[in-house]
């Protein structure tokens, strides 16, 4: 009491602060809820994919089927698979019974929970009864899809393509980027400009002659046309790495030079360790880029379905299995597990990479 009398403004201030705090909590709640709703809508197809990949063929094509993978329950009785129905009994209660022998006006049922009690005769038309359905995820769909797309083989080829091009492109791009970042030579500006422009030009304009030459060389149908060009640096990676190299203080290199190191030694001993975050980031970006690459593998591997990477393989698969959406979805989910897992595991490096290189592919 005494305190409020001595300092009359204080309660009013706290009241305003409380109101502001309440308003902030409300805003935070609304914003977060809105974001959650948006994320749910955004990711809804994934939920659909999982639910549908677990359905059986009938469940997928039935427009009235529910969200979850269900199927009609059956009961094995004396060596036979019997369908289970909801049966209204004469005493008014309904029981779930297995149909042993159907008849026009009366049928014989058995209680799946108590088959030892013998059969139950029921008066009425069994066709009017509704079958009992239960949750029945078809985990076997994933196994079937795994085998149908030769998942391991396709993943192996994709991995080979991604890893080999990552190594080639990162090494060659780093070398070129160092040249652009640290050495003065006539025409550097023009050449770097040309490099930047090639990032924006459509590669389609080079494809016809390249394809004709690769065909002559017998490279079409192999990974050579996809891998060999990466020996010669990738313009975008050069740009990213050069940006990063420019931020490395020159004093480090000068110290190495005074110690008698030549440019190659300086590059390996000073620049590469300093640029490690950028090199990792560019490697990761390129890995995902290669994992997703579709056009060039489609073109250059045409006619060799045994070795296509997973993207092209999935598209072939969906063309052949278009009447079995549950298998297509199972295959699609299988294909996304590995990249998403790598992303989640490397998320920190990834986010830091976007920051250090300032850009993403």
């Amino acid at each position: 009491m005494n305190a409020t009398q001595a300092n009359p403004e204080k309660p009013a201030l706290t009241e305003a602060a409380v109101r502001r705090k309440r308003r902030n909590i409300l805003l935070a709640g609304c914003t977060t809820l809105g974001a959650l709703l948006l994320a749910l809508i955004f990711l809804m197809p994934l939920g659909y994919g999982v639910a549908t990949a677990l359905k059986d063929k009938n469940g997928v094509s039935d427009p009235n089927s529910g969200v979850l993978p269900v199927s009609s329950l059956t009961f094995e009785y004396e060596g036979k698979e019997l369908d289970i129905y909801t049966v209204p009994m004469p005493d008014g209660e309904t029981r779930e019974l297995a149909l042993v022998s159907p008849g026009r006006e009366s049928s014989v049922f058995v209680d799946p929970e108590n088959p030892g009690a013998g059969t139950i005769d029921w008066e009425g038309r069994w066709r009017t009864l509704t079958p009992v359905q239960g949750l029945d995820p078809q985990w076997g769909n994933f196994e079937e899809a795994w085998n149908a797309i030769s998942f391991l083989r396709m993943t192996g080829w994709t991995m080979l393509y991604a890893v080999s091009t990552v190594i080639l492109t990162v090494v060659s791009s780093a070398i070129v980027a160092y040249g652009f970042a640290r050495f003065r030579f006539p025409g550097r500006g023009v050449l770097f400009g040309v490099l930047m422009v090639t990032i924006l030009l459509p590669p389609a304009v080079t494809l016809v002659p390249k394809y004709a030459v690769f065909l002559q060389m017998g490279w079409v149908g192999t990974y050579l046309p996809l891998i060999v060009p990466h020996l010669f640096a990738n313009a975008f990676n050069v740009f990213l790495l050069r940006q990063y190299f420019l931020t490395i203080p020159r004093e480090l290199e000068e110290a190495a030079r005074i110690d008698g190191a030549g440019p190659i030694r300086t590059f390996i001993r000073v620049i590469v360790p300093q640029a490690f975050p950028a090199l990792t980031a560019v490697s990761l970006f390129h890995f995902f880029y290669a994992w997703n690459d579709f056009f060039e593998p489609l073109l250059y591997l045409a006619g060799n379905r045994e070795i296509v990477p997973i993207g092209v393989g999935l598209s072939y698969f969906s063309g052949v299995y278009n009447s079995e959406p549950h298998l297509i979805l199972a295959a699609a989910l299988l294909a996304l597990v590995l990249p998403v897992a790598i992303f989640l595991a490397a998320q920190r490096v990834f986010v830091r990479g976007i920051v250090v290189t300032g850009v993403d592919k």
Binding site: N24, L27, A28, C30, T31, A35, L38, F42, L43, P45, G49, S61, P63, S172, I175, V176, G179, R182, F183, R184, F185, G189, V194, L195, M196, L201, P202, P203, A204, V205, L207, V208, P209, A212, L231, F232, A235, V238, F239, Q243, P263, F294, F295, I310, G311, L314, S318, G319, P325, A332, A335, L336, P339, V340, F343, Q347, I354, V355, G358, V359
Partner: protein
């Protein structure tokens, strides 16, 4: 990211102040090392860009069938005439531009909206949401396409079922057929495209975080509301980032291929809406084996993309705001 567009713009500027002094031995040594380091790219550029672009031009005046290379003859301008009179060329150009006009603004706005949301001080669990909105970008494109193909199924897909909940008859015989209607299919393409929006979103977010908070505080003291702050501070300061997203987005979208190819192949269904420029080119050159005609079409695409990109860069000085630090 804005360094990228800056570097491209710099190539268009004239360079001055080059010293005409003869190079000292030290300078010559440095230059030799420079050329040595960039030589992998020079070789690659000559082998995989310069020569093929020139060769494409040569091919475009030949009648060259992949099936019978021996019978190649000089065709003069006939491939070019054919490219410009082929109705499919104009269908494909129209399809590409229709989709560009729809998806480019849509993707820019959604990427900006999500970045603003993630940057909001009211949002809790920012890391989780950034992950959730970014994650679909990590899903292999073809897997994403196949999932969307099913979720947009007119009868059994959840999209139509959800729309059906609002009372619209979406799943019936007269329901919403995403893949049979030339306008709706562009929305189907857009949904698939929005799953790949993570990169643009993260780039926008980095740009937003680079805007000094003092500007917002000052504006708030002056009584500027949310909309006013967005228009007068956020958008101008973010415009270089938006420009980068616009350039990369338009270059990618003008070469749109994978989504229509996986969904429709070269059929162009529905009613030519999926016959994009690159699909038309791929079909002529590599499915039908008309390499000469394909080369002419490739040059056509090249010219379209180049003109579009030059126009974009030309407009940039009217709306892209560059701070004083890069005068």
């Amino acid at each position: 990211m804005t360094d990228f567009t800056d570097a491209v713009l710099a190539t268009g500027r004239k360079r001055r102040g080059k010293s005409s002094r003869p190079a000292s031995p030290m300078q010559r040594r440095e230059a030799r090392w420079g050329y040595a380091f960039i030589s992998p790219w020079i070789i690659g550029f000559v082998l995989f860009w310069a020569i093929p672009i020139g060769a494409s031009l040569v091919f475009s005046v030949l009648d060259f069938q992949l099936t019978d290379p021996g019978a190649t003859t000089f065709a003069g301008g006939s491939n070019w005439e054919r490219a410009l009179s082929d109705p499919d060329t104009w269908t494909s150009l129209a399809a590409t531009f229709r989709f560009t006009v729809l998806f480019l603004p849509l993707s820019l706005v959604v990427a900006l909206g999500l970045a603003l949301l993630l940057n909001s001080r009211h949002l809790r669990m920012v890391g989780l949401f950034r992950l959730l909105f970014y994650m679909p970008s990590m899903i292999p494109l073809v897997a994403g396409i196949l999932i969307w193909q099913q979720v947009l199924n007119p009868q059994t897909g959840w999209v139509n079922k959800l729309i059906g909940l609002t009372g619209v008859n979406a799943t019936g015989a007269d329901g919403i057929r995403w893949f049979d209607n030339p306008v709706l299919v562009l929305f189907a393409f857009s949904f698939i495209g929005l799953w790949g929006i993570g990169n643009a979103m993260v780039i926008n977010l980095a740009g937003l975080q680079g805007i000094p908070t003092e500007l917002y505080e000052a504006a708030e003291i002056d009584g500027a509301g949310w909309w006013r702050r967005l228009r007068s501070i956020t958008l101008p300061l973010l415009s270089p980032v938006m420009f980068y997203n616009l350039v990369i987005g338009s270059v990618l979208i003008l070469q749109y291929f994978v989504v229509p190819w996986v969904l429709f192949g070269a059929t162009g269904r529905p009613q030519g809406a999926s016959r994009f420029m690159l699909i038309h080119f791929y079909q002529e050159a590599f499915v039908f084996g008309n390499m000469g005609y394909g080369a002419a079409l490739a040059w056509f695409i090249f010219v379209v993309v180049a003109v579009f990109t030059v126009l974009l860069f030309g407009t940039s000085r009217y709306w892209v705001h560059y701070g004083t630090e890069r005068s």
